[in-house]
Every structure is written in structure tokens, then in C-alpha cells.
């Protein structure tokens, strides 16, 4: 297995790629909020060139394409780099999955332009963006020294198991982002997104509460619980603000800064909420052992070396 030292640089590169991806999410949200999705009618070139006049909506749409090109390039480098230095087969393949996702994402982006923003494709484009962000973040986590260091497994007692609740919360958050994207791209109204908000808020409070209750002596999980609380509170406020700004801005002949700002921040904070639930899920699998599960069997099922007792090695 590669040592943490071997992976230090690729980990840094993965974190850099994740940061650029977050920037790309902001750029994509700016395109939608400024109603600039079709300001460049052609694809993959923009007005038949690589650098069109960056005025009006073209600034947002072509800027988004330029950052997407950067992230695509970074993803190629990351996939190749992982393949060369990473000894864990599944991490190598995760790099390939990320590359496949970013290629699919580019194609979906092109299709939205060529088919005049059909809601299903636009919503799929928005959703895959968030999944790609989570994939790159996961690669960052898996290549980190923290993940690879041997750590004691903490027993998880009670119902539901923290694993199940974390997976359910991450899944519900993903569904909520799909509903949000579908609303934003006019596939349907706000009601499903509001119902999703109630469900996700409940699950996140439940998950964060159980993390603090059962894993009070595990700093990583305690910190993630605090982050979940902060993010969901912020996201609810932003959601209310974004909704108000949409109604308020309807009387104006063009998108206004307060609406653009609030809707963009709400969108990318949604991505952060999803990413945090995914990180919580991975951390729970890394640190918590379901009560009743044999430690050896659990460790073996997760790919660590056989024979360890209360410690689980790097996956």
C-alpha cells in the first residue's frame, strides 16, 4: 500500500481540484441565476471561437466553460496520477469514475445548450455537478494522512445505526438537491423542494444529535456534527432569502444582484451540505463499528488487514 508520504502530493492536488470544482459550481449557479444559459448559442466553441467578447450573459456562460475546461484538465491529471501512485485499486478506479463524471458533465452541459435548456437535462447537469464535487472530495479524503492512519474503532450502539442514518441523510440530501435543481430549471414547482427541506432538516438534526450523543469523545465526528448544524441553519435562512428575492425581483426587467447573490449562495451551500453528509458517512464507516458486528469481520469487509482487533487500518 502507498504510504501517506507517497500520497501527500496527490492529496494536495485532489484538494486543489475540489476547490476549483467548488469555484465551478459557483460559476454554474451564476449562469442560471443570470438567465445566461443560452447567451452562447453554439457549443463547444463560443461564437465560433475560444474567446468571445465577454459582455453581458456571455461573461457568465463562457466563464463557466473556461473553468469547466480547467476542472476537466485537472481531473485527467488526477486520474492518471492516482493510477500511477495509488496502490489501492478502488481509489485508482475512483479517479477514473471522477474523470468519467466530468466528461459526462461536459456533454450534458453541451446538450443543455444545443437543446435549449430542457429541464431534465439541465437538472441532470446540476445534479451531476454536485456528485462530481463529492467524488473529488472523497478522493481528497481517501488520500489524506488522516484516513490512512490506524485508528481505534468506536462501538456504535442503538437504533438506528449511525451508518444507516448517515447513508439515509446523504441520500435524502442528494434527492433534495435534485428537487432544487428541478425547481430552478422549471421542471416543477417549489412544493417538492420545500417538503424535501423538511425531511433533510429533520434527518440532519437527528444525525448530528446522534453523533454528539454517541461519539462525544471522537473529535472528528463531533466537529462534523457541529458543521452539519451550522450548514443546515445557514441553508434554511438562505433558502428563505432566495425565495423572497425571486418574488421581489419579478418586478424588475432583469436579474437583480440581491436575487443572483442569494440564489447562488443557496445553491452552493446546498452542495456543501451534501458534501458534508457524504464526508460524515465516510467518517462514520471509518471510525464507528456497528454493535454486534465482529470487529475482524467488519475490518475485513472494509478491506483492511485481517487480524487487527480494535483498530482499523487504512482501507
Amino acid at each position: 500500500m502507498s504510504s501517506p508520504h507517497d500520497l501527500r502530493n496527490v492529496h494536495r492536488f485532489a484538494v486543489f481540484t475540489a476547490c476549483c470544482t467548488f469555484l465551478l459550481l459557483i460559476a454554474g449557479a451564476l449562469v442560471t441565476s443570470n438567465d445566461a444559459g443560452l447567451s452562447v448559442p453554439d457549443w463547444p466553441l463560443s461564437y465560433g471561437s475560444l474567446l468571445p467578447p465577454m459582455v453581458g450573459g456571455i461573461f457568465y456562460e463562457h466563464g463557466h466553460r473556461m473553468i469547466a475546461t480547467l476542472v476537466g484538465t485537472l481531473s485527467i491529471v488526477l486520474a492518471v496520477w492516482l493510477w500511477r501512485v495509488e496502490s489501492r485499486r478502488w481509489v485508482r478506479w475512483l479517479g477514473v469514475v471522477a474523470l468519467g463524471a466530468v466528461i459526462a458533465q461536459g456533454i450534458l452541459g453541451g446538450l443543455t445548450v444545443l437543446f435549449f435548456l430542457p429541464p431534465p437535462i439541465s437538472a441532470a447537469h446540476a445534479t451531476l455537478a454536485q456528485l462530481f464535487f463529492c467524488t473529488v472530495l472523497s478522493i481528497s479524503l481517501f488520500t489524506s494522512a488522516w484516513w490512512q492512519r490506524e485508528r481505534p474503532l468506536v462501538a456504535d450502539a442503538g437504533w438506528p445505526s449511525i451508518h444507516s442514518l448517515a447513508v439515509a441523510t446523504a441520500s435524502a440530501t442528494l434527492l433534495q438537491l435534485v428537487l432544487g435543481a428541478a425547481f430552478r430549471h422549471k421542471a416543477f414547482g417549489i412544493i417538492p423542494h420545500l417538503m424535501g427541506a423538511v425531511l433533510v432538516t429533520g434527518l440532519i438534526f437527528w444525525l448530528a444529535g446522534l453523533l454528539r450523543l454517541r461519539f462525544a469523545n471522537v473529535p472528528a465526528l463531533r466537529g462534523l456534527a457541529r458543521l452539519l448544524h451550522a450548514l443546515i441553519g445557514l441553508q434554511l435562512l438562505l433558502g428563505a432569502g432566495a425565495w423572497w428575492s425571486r418574488i421581489y425581483s419579478a418586478q424588475f426587467p432583469q436579474p437583480i444582484p440581491v436575487m443572483v447573490t442569494l440564489t447562488v449562495i443557496h445553491t452552493v451551500t446546498g452542495a456543501l451540505v451534501l458534501a458534508t453528509t457524504v464526508m460524515v458517512t465516510l467518517a462514520c464507516y471509518r471510525l464507528a463499528r456497528p454493535s454486534g458486528a465482529a470487529v475482524g469481520a467488519f475490518a475485513a469487509a472494509n478491506g483492511s488487514s485481517a487480524g487487527q482487533s480494535q483498530h482499523q487500518g487504512a482501507l
Binding site: 453554439d42 457549443w43 463547444p44 459582455v55 453581458g56 450573459g57
Partner: protein, 265 residues
């Protein structure tokens, strides 16, 4: 073993390149060649044809026009430096009238051979606004889109019954020629580069249409004798209709009134 991902990555990139090559936006063509006439009957006899004239009234206080902020487009902001550009969705005319209302006749014209105008209807992009704001043309009549601005626009009609298209038009480029094959009152048109730019193109199945002018008046000429529905459409106030019977060589005047509080279509 190590060759597999390389092949996979190469295949993925190859697929992406292939998609890019295939997906390139070529210049769209017009929906179908413009017909020169519609209907299989006889031409309208000018000796018996009448006229429908009238006025569009607005009942109530019209909403104030809003200032458009063109800071994002310096070329156009400069044009409106002395007087800011305003929205054009409700433009009252003199004496309580209303401009930019599409007025057209609904009826059975199947017995007549109706010539499709060969002269294109023109819409211009000037100062990052459409001119005119509301345009009417006949199905399959050529539409000419002109760009008089020193900036790039995209022209993007969003029809429900016709083919959607979206074309870019850099400054100084030739007019874009298009047609609409099916009747639709009215097709919203927008420029995504400049999100405040909005216009409407009414596509009418007969040549019997007009758009109310600055005094709210309209005139529809060469109408064959018969009974018709005069339909008036406004982007904010929806549709008003009235029946009219036109006799031989007769000129009929109608007045249609929109209420400010009326719900829009």
C-alpha cells in the same frame, strides 16, 4: 493491467471529442421554404373588399415603465446615457389608448387564396432593445433580424407551436432570415446576452392583422365580406375579442378595451 485505464481514458476522451464534433451548432435553416400563397380558393376581389379599423383603449392607470440598467453592456449604456432605456411592456398611447396590441381577424378564409407577403418583416436590435417591441407577420412570411448595435446579440424565440431556435449575431453581420410555419400569437423573443431584451412576434395565419400604433389605432385592409372575430392580444393584459360583420366595400370601426386589472394570459 496498467494498460486498461489508459485505454479507458483514451476511449472516454475520444467519445467526448466525437460528441463535440457532432454537437457543433451549425447555422439553423428556416423552418420550411416560405410559401407564396395559402388557401386553395380564389383571390380576394379588391372591388368588394372592406376594411376594419379601430382603436385599442386602456381602462385604468397604466403601470409605470421601469428603468433598465444597461451597465453590463457599455456599448448600449452609452447610447442611453442622456435618457435611460425603459421597459416596454405597457406603453399607453394618446387619449387613454394602448400601443403594441396585435389585432387580427379570426374566421374562415379557406375559400380565398391568400398571398404570403414576400417582403420580410423586420425586427432590429438597436440600443440593446428590440425595434419594434411587438411585430406581426404571416405564417411563412420571411422574418429579417437586424443588428444595428456595436455589440453581439443572440436572438432566441421561445415558441410553443413553432420550432425554437437561437442564433448569435455579431455587430455588422448580415440579417438573419427565418420563418414561422404555424400560427402563434405571440412568440416571446429574448436575448440571453442582455436579459432585459424582450419582444413578441405574432404569427398570424392570414394577412388580416395589424399592431396598434402610438394613438392606439389599427387598420386591417382588403378584408373579404363576411363575419369575423376581431381578436386583440397584449403581452400583459391577454386577449379581448369582438365580432364584426364587414359588407362589400364597407369600413367597420371597432373599439376594444383592456382593463389594467385584467389578468394576463
Amino acid at each position: 493491467m496498467k494498460a486498461k485505464p489508459v485505454i479507458l481514458i483514451a476511449a472516454a476522451i475520444g467519445f467526448a471529442v466525437a460528441m463535440i464534433s457532432c454537437g457543433s451548432n451549425s447555422t439553423p435553416t428556416a423552418e420550411q421554404p416560405a410559401a407564396t400563397a395559402t388557401g386553395g380558393g380564389t383571390p380576394v376581389d379588391p372591388a368588394t373588399a372592406g376594411t376594419v379599423t379601430g382603436s385599442i383603449k386602456l381602462d385604468g392607470t397604466p403601470p409605470k415603465m421601469k428603468v433598465i440598467n444597461m451597465a453590463a453592456e457599455p456599448a448600449c449604456a452609452k447610447i442611453h446615457a442622456s435618457a435611460p432605456a425603459m421597459t416596454q411592456d405597457v406603453i399607453p398611447g394618446d387619449g387613454g389608448t394602448l400601443q403594441n396590441v396585435v389585432v387580427y381577424l379570426k374566421g374562415d378564409f379557406s375559400q380565398y387564396k391568400l398571398d404570403v407577403p414576400t417582403a420580410p418583416a423586420e425586427i432590429d436590435q438597436k440600443g440593446c432593445q428590440y425595434e419594434p417591441h411587438v411585430l406581426a407577420l404571416m405564417t411563412n412570411q420571411p422574418l429579417s433580424v437586424v443588428n444595428s448595435d456595436m455589440t453581439t446579440h443572440n436572438i432566441h424565440p421561445v415558441p410553443k407551436n413553432n420550432r425554437e431556435w437561437n442564433e448569435s449575431q455579431p455587430p455588422g453581420s448580415a440579417p438573419i432570415m427565418q420563418t414561422f410555419a404555424r400560427e402563434e400569437v405571440a412568440v416571446p423573443v429574448k436575448c440571453n446576452v442582455h436579459p432585459w431584451m424582450k419582444a413578441y412576434i405574432a404569427v398570424v395565419g392570414s394577412p388580416y392583422f395589424s399592431v396598434s400604433g402610438k394613438d392606439g389605432s389599427f387598420t386591417i385592409k382588403n378584408v373579404p365580406p363576411g363575419t369575423y372575430t376581431v381578436s386583440a392580444w397584449h403581452e400583459s393584459y391577454g386577449t379581448q375579442e369582438q365580432m364584426v360583420t364587414v359588407g362589400a366595400k364597407e369600413s367597420k370601426a371597432v373599439t376594444l378595451t383592456f382593463k389594467v386589472a385584467a389578468a394576463s394570459d
